[in-house]
């Protein structure tokens, strides 16, 4: 999140799009209710069905699964045409005035931007982004038109791009009621008024699409236009799905980044350290400091073995080979027999991954599999899945029982970037151990084996600095914290924060963003628990928020050009003329050495432009402006761009995997979406072992409209069979079963004059645990976002009938 949970209390209007806050983040409703009580705040919910959040909304809009950009594009169009944007903010704090290459274009016939090329490796398109770049002067500075009139300026390009997203057209594409659309646009865009705060809360209903990243981009564009970035009660607020998933992405448990959101080095582009630092360090913006963070990270990895002479160990660091190694690709490799073993750590892809039944099949090719989890999960027990014959499977499975969160201590980073220490309250049962203990023991053994026996590239393992043992053979978490915080190699003294990091090998730092969270041993910031008595809810004395304990990022945007807060009732930071510095209720996102003018020109400090990007030539591979594409499986063509395919840049991993012909659409004539319910959690392997939760939600169910139920002769509570193209090819199952929940909360949608049905189901069930059921993800397709490959779990096609 750019803001944080408690900051919700400062909002005037909430829009919960692609999210179900009441069910998946119920505690946050406390702060939404507070805003409603104290400020008369309004809650808009945009969701295909009436979820428990929509049930308490002030305004509800139903849209077809997979049409978020149509909805948001319509909102952008409404804001631009009705001049609801925050003028001063847009003119000065965004790139609205920037001029783009005159060759830039978008072809409405094909749905492609200029510069498209074939990408045979990914069976998709890619873009040469030359025509997307800014026009620049001789010194390389972008050209601008402050009047926002030049047809090549970002502002005018946006107006042109979203001109088609009229309320009428958006209604045709999304199936939303035009009055509800307009009412929601009117209400939400009222936050464009200076001093008003609009809060955009989202989750997987925005991200889990082949165009998911562009969905998020569209949210950012809306918030920039309305001046909702950097203010109290505003922000682009990703509501993360697990108590420490923020921590996991911060620590880069994703293969394409390294800790602190730097890019993983690529063998081809970055053969040397100098290559990496040169190509990855921009000329302006805060990331000019990247060399300090990267070198300090190398020192954390390789310790004393990392010296200037050997590029600080850069050659030992694993590098990308240019191929996709994300979840879908990794399993595809496994299916082709290219993967020998897998460590599946706190993960259950046999239930949570797309086309999960295929995944379980691919796992048969593994020689060994290690599962670290609290319970025996479906991934470790894949050989017990539907249609499996253990006799023909040779995989050796190791189960390492893990301690639960409250059975060990350590920090967790929440959605608001607050790194909060949590303490241990009881010992784990039986042989279960903390993840830290497990990884420490595992790596020590690996290092010892490589030292004794050698191997293909032993230095990569043996040269790593690995010293986390504590007394009594336990692992010492404080050693880990010190390394993450950062310290000086000369004397081991902790750095105060990342400002103290250097690129000459004199500092170690495991994650520059976290630097400061554990910078003293007596009272590390992560353990602070002082509630604020007055203020806007920053609670600076409660834990440590990265970066630098800043609670609202880009908070320069909370004040006008003179440094006066747009909203004097909830001021974040302001310019103190007497002291000639920024002061306020938060850590200013402004270097102390800057003048007022410098800060005004660079409110978005991390970006090379220094201003927010309404248009982005480089952030995403599939386009500089969010554009409506249908999901990979859709019943209708793209009404905006009739010959466009689904996201052209999204990789096609498998042939004949998704519904593509009209004949297949007739076979799978219903749109289906998957989601979560409050009573169960993710793949359900923990919650389906808790009797009180099983009592509440005992069985997998699918929500069907009364109209569809009547057409198909399905009564409430009947068992139904659901099919998708993945099951047709799976060979192990024809369909999966669930109980029917016939409800008024789902209604068929009229898409361009034609009635289309959609259904929805939670995906928390699997074949292990006290409460078992079918795996909903056996239906979903292994297609993913063009940039991140997050799977399109939220919109695909199915057939459904009464079972038995």
């Amino acid at each position: 999140m750019t803001n944080h949970w408690i900051d919700y209390q400062n909002s005037d209007v909430f829009i919960n799009i692609g999210g179900n806050t009441a069910e998946n983040h119920p505690i946050s409703m406390k702060w939404i209710e507070k805003a409603r009580e104290t400020k008369g705040a309004k809650l808009i919910v945009v969701d295909p069905r009436i979820s428990r959040t929509a049930a308490v909304a002030d305004l509800y809009v139903s849209i077809r699964p997979g049409t978020n950009i149509a909805y948001l594009g319509g909102l952008i169009n409404y804001i631009l045409n009705n001049e609801r944007y925050h003028k001063e903010y847009v003119e000065n704090y965004t790139n609205a005035s920037y001029l783009v290459n005159e060759e830039f274009s978008f072809d409405e016939a094909t749905g492609l931007f200029s510069g498209s090329e074939d990408d045979p490796v990914r069976s998709a398109k890619k873009y040469n982004t030359e025509t997307w770049q800014y026009q620049r002067d001789e010194e390389g500075n972008p050209l601008k038109d402050p009047t926002l009139q030049d047809p090549n300026c970002v502002f005018q390009l946006m107006k042109k791009h979203y001109a088609k997203y009229t309320i009428d057209n958006v209604s045709k594409v999304t199936g939303a009621d035009p009055e509800a659309l307009e009412a929601s646009y009117e209400l939400y865009s009222s936050t464009g008024e200076p001093g008003k705060a609009g809060n955009l809360l989202y989750a997987m209903g925005i991200t889990q699409f082949t165009h998911g990243s562009q969905n998020v981009r569209a949210c950012a564009v809306v918030q920039l236009l309305l001046g909702n970035m950097g203010i109290a009660g505003g922000g682009v607020n990703a509501q993360r799905g697990q108590s420490n998933v923020q921590g996991s992405t911060d620590m880069a448990i994703l293969y394409h980044i390294i800790p602190g959101y730097m890019s993983t080095p690529q063998q081809a582009a970055h053969p040397t350290l100098a290559d990496y630092l040169e190509k990855e360090t921009p000329a302006s913006g805060w990331w000019v400091n990247k060399p300090k963070y990267f070198v300090s990270l190398l020192k954390a990895f390789y310790g004393d073995s990392a010296t200037r002479a050997n590029e600080f160990g850069y050659q030992w660091m694993p590098k990308l080979d240019g191929l996709d190694h994300s979840h879908i690709a990794g399993y595809r490799d496994m299916g082709e027999g290219k993967v020998e073993g897998m460590i599946c750590w706190a993960d259950n892809p046999a239930v949570s991954g797309p086309s999960a039944a295929n995944k379980r099949n691919y796992q048969k090719n593994l020689k060994w599999l290690v599962s670290v989890d609290l319970f025996e999960n479906e991934t470790a027990s894949f050989w017990e899945g539907p249609g499996m014959d253990p006799a023909e499977i040779d995989t050796e499975v190791f189960i390492l029982p893990a301690a639960a969160g409250y059975e060990r201590e350590g920090s967790k980073a929440n959605s608001g970037r607050w790194i909060q220490w949590t303490w241990k309250c009881q010992d784990p049962p039986g042989e279960a151990k903390s993840d830290l203990w497990i990884v420490n023991e595992l790596f020590k053994k690996l290092q010892a084996l490589y030292e004794a026996e050698g191997g293909a590239v032993p230095d990569q393992i043996t040269k790593m600095q690995w010293d986390y043992d504590g007394p009594d053979g336990e692992v010492d978490i404080v050693k880990v914290c010190k390394e993450i915080n950062g310290y000086r190699t000369s004397d081991g003294s902790l750095v105060t924060n990342f400002v103290g990091l250097a690129d000459d090998g004199s500092t170690v730092c495991g994650n520059w963003l976290y630097s400061g969270y554990y910078n003293n041993l007596d009272n590390p910031a992560t353990k602070n628990r002082t509630r604020e008595k007055e203020g806007i809810g920053s609670n600076l004395g409660w834990s440590f928020a990265w970066p630098l304990n800043r609670r609202i990022v880009y908070n320069r945007g909370s004040a006008d050009l003179e440094g006066k807060p747009w909203n004097p009732d909830a001021p974040v930071v302001w310019w103190d003329e007497l002291q000639q510095k920024w002061v306020g209720n938060d850590i200013p996102d402004i270097p102390g050495s800057w003048t007022l003018e410098q800060s005004t020109e660079n409110p978005f400090i991390m970006l090379p432009e220094g201003v927010g990007r309404l248009y982005s030539h480089s952030a995403l591979k599939d386009g500089p402006l969010p554009t409506h594409y249908e999901p990979a499986e859709s019943l209708v063509p793209n009404l905006f761009y009739p010959n466009a395919t689904y996201n052209p840049v999204s990789q096609r991993f498998y042939e004949d995997h998704t519904v593509e012909t009209d004949e297949e659409r007739a076979r799978y004539p219903y749109i289906i979406t998957t989601y979560r319910i409050v009573e169960h959690y993710q793949s359900g392997i923990v919650t389906r072992n808790l009797p009180w939760l099983n009592e509440l939600m005992p069985e997998l169910f699918i929500e069907i409209s009364e109209e569809l139920a009547s057409e198909l002769g399905i009564s409430n509570g009947d068992t139904v069979a659901i099919e998708s193209k993945r099951l047709f090819k799976d060979g192990n199952q024809d369909s999966i079963e669930a109980k029917a929940c016939v409800t008024r909360r789902l209604k068929p949608l009229v898409i361009n004059g034609e009635k289309k049905h959609f259904v929805g189901m939670p995906w928390h069930w699997g074949f292990k645990g006290m409460n078992t059921g079918a795996v909903a993800n056996d239906l979903t397709a292994s297609v993913g976002d063009a940039n991140t490959t997050i799977p399109e779990s939220k919109a695909f096609l199915c057939n459904i009938r009464r079972a038995g």
Binding site: A22, E23, P26, I27, M29, K30, E33, I50, R52, T53, A54, A55, V56, D58, V678, E679, P691, W692, L693, N694, E695, L696, M697, P698, E699, L700, F701, S715, N716, G717, K739, A740, C741, V742, T743, R744, R745, K747
Partner: protein
């Protein structure tokens, strides 16, 4: 009216059921075996193991669908039918104004179960006792709020002094009506002379599955007024009968042994 009450603002309920699980956990009530029968509601009714439930009701009016959610259980009535029906005085009024079951005195006659207009008290076949929400009597004694109020994330369940909370409730009803919810109402303010579980509803009670104008039935009133005093006489009569029978048995035994 009880002194300490819960104000349950159903308009803020998000149906998360933290309250339902907190009640189970605090009272260590076992989970029942349930099946999905077409509703989020589970278990489907109150029982000796399920003292409170979140109830979900869907409605559609003029194309607008509403999804109403509320926590329901013992209302802790002032004019308590269960107390009037109970022959042994096992159901009693606590010092907090709430209604509790003294399981030592309970003889498992089930009259309370039959009498309750809300159908929230249940019979436990294993122990032969009546069971229901205790208003967390043990927690109140420790100065804590009930487990359900403690767990509720949205502040839908507020615990405190009845004077303050009644005022809050009435303000909220006005707010809801001003926002277009013309049927918004208090529930439990006057019903059965007032209940310690007091509601703010965004719509009519029957839309939530709550009984409209709940009454203590005539049979219960008659039983309570006329026959309960007679139970003392019945006990004396039974006791006299047993005593007579015992003396008579002794005489017969004596006569038998003398005959041998």
């Amino acid at each position: 009216m009880a002194q300490l009450i819960c104000l349950i603002d159903a308009s803020k309920c998000i149906g998360c059921r933290a309250c339902q699980v907190a009640c189970k956990q605090w009272n260590q009530l076992p989970a029942e075996t349930t099946t999905f029968e077409g509703s989020y509601e589970n278990p489907p009714r109150f029982s000796a193991q399920t003292w409170m439930r979140v109830v979900y009701r869907e409605h559609e009016e003029e194309g607008k669908v509403s999804f109403l959610m509320s926590k329901q259980g013992c209302m802790h009535c002032t004019d308590a039918a269960c107390m009037q029906a109970c022959p042994t005085g096992a159901l009693y009024r606590t010092e907090f104004g709430t209604v509790n079951v003294d399981t030592v005195k309970c003889i498992g006659c089930n009259y309370c179960v039959a009498a309750c207009p809300f159908h929230v008290i249940s019979f436990d076949r294993l122990t032969n006792k009546a069971q229901k929400c205790t208003f967390c009597y043990d927690r109140l004694n420790a100065g804590l709020q009930p487990a359900c109020a403690n767990a509720c994330p949205t502040g839908s369940i507020q615990f405190g002094d009845y004077r303050e909370l009644i005022g809050n409730g009435q303000d909220r009803v006005e707010e809801l009506q001003a926002a277009g919810k013309t049927n918004a109402t208090m529930y439990g303010l006057n019903e059965v002379d007032g209940t310690a579980m007091l509601y703010v509803l965004a719509d009519k009670p029957e839309k939530y599955g709550l009984p409209v104008d709940p009454q203590v039935s005539l049979q219960t009133r008659i039983w309570s007024a006329l026959f309960k005093p007679f139970r003392v006489l019945v006990i004396i009569a039974v006791g006299f009968g047993l005593w007579v029978n015992r003396s008579h048995s002794k005489k017969i035994e004596q006569a038998k042994s003398e005959a041998k």
